[in-house]
Symmetry: C2
Subunit: 182 residues, 2 copies
DNA sequence: ACCTGAACACCGTTCAAGT
DNA sequence: ACCTGAACACCGTTCAAGT
């Protein structure tokens, strides 16, 4: 007796599923996400979720996109370069396991690959704008990429917040300071 | 009718299992590794492997330790700093998915956590020795950590070998060149 | 000590059947 | 269009039973 929900708005149903998936990802990471778990939370059969998100990775990418918007979508409007970088690193640190899972799934899932590409491009654009006033134009591309790579590396190993920010400051002052030499 | 292999040396049997696991990891990464797949390759019941490696992660850590020794155990004896760094980055790049899987599993598996710690310490020690002649003593720790972090970041995103080495050279010359300023 | 086979509780995906 | 339930081929782990 499939209790159909034709009355409920389609977007509302999809939003319900995404919200449940976000909760599971935040609580237990990629392994905790499953069609079954989402369905159980919503009182549905586990194959009902498949109707909207055919594969686990489609569901994963949709939910993680929501998380990125919620956690990284509204950066602080004021503060200097280091303060803004600190904010981003702290946010990215908390999301590191999910971002790492995205990277791994991107090899097999088009949806994951698409989200990863968009995520990377967004980060790069924002960082370049942040650094532009402080770096010589001919060095901007390389400095931007270097900082991006460094931040990605910072997130790999668990470190204390203090260590992370110290290292970041060490690198950035070195790169920004060195810009006067060219 | 369990065909017992009391005649075979215990270490030889374990080596067989580790070799099969190494092959599976190299071919398909962490997801491709399973007790079943190893057992099938060796003509055993899948629970036979459990006798030697109780959990999947125990098996994973043992096999990855072998891979690390095989791929990173014998660095080139000659060459300058950049050449040695290039060699390491190229090797680490190929192992990146497995190293990331190790990092993820280290959160749940003591064996994985132990291997990751040993791996990190080995890398750090070797890099410090490599950089020591070129960096002022009071900067050595921070420069070493910075390069480690940067290299870890380099491995996260897929880049061409050329891009990777260019970025590495940009960072290292900047850091080594900056050592004269202190 | 070593290995088997059965069992348990999952998983992702597919699909015929219903409303 | 939407949802169910059954099915398939897995998975990691546990365990009684055999040699």
């Amino acid at each position: 007796m499939p209790r159909n929900r034709h009355d409920v708005d389609r977007d509302a149903k999809i939003a319900e599923i995404r919200e449940a998936a976000v909760g599971l990802l935040r609580a237990g990471g990629y392994p905790a996400l499953s069609h079954s778990a989402v369905a159980k939370e919503l009182g549905l059969a586990r194959t009902a979720v498949t109707w909207y998100f055919a594969t686990k990775d489609d569901l994963f990418a949709a939910a993680l996109a929501d998380i990125y918007v919620a956690d990284l979508g509204t950066p602080p409007a004021d503060g200097d370069v280091m303060a803004r970088l600190r904010w981003a690193v702290e946010r990215l640190t908390a999301l590191q396991p999910l971002t790492h899972a995205l990277h791994e799934r991107a090899r097999h899932s088009p949806a994951a690959a698409e989200l990863e590409a968009a995520f990377q491009e967004g980060l790069c654009t924002r960082l370049r704008a942040l650094l532009a006033p402080h770096v010589a134009a001919d060095r901007l591309d390389r400095v931007t990429t270097t900082v991006i790579v460094f931040v990605e590396g910072l997130l790999v190993q668990p470190r204390t917040t203090g260590d992370r920010l110290d290292l970041l400051e060490f690198l950035v002052t070195d790169l920004i300071g060195a810009s006067g030499r060219s």
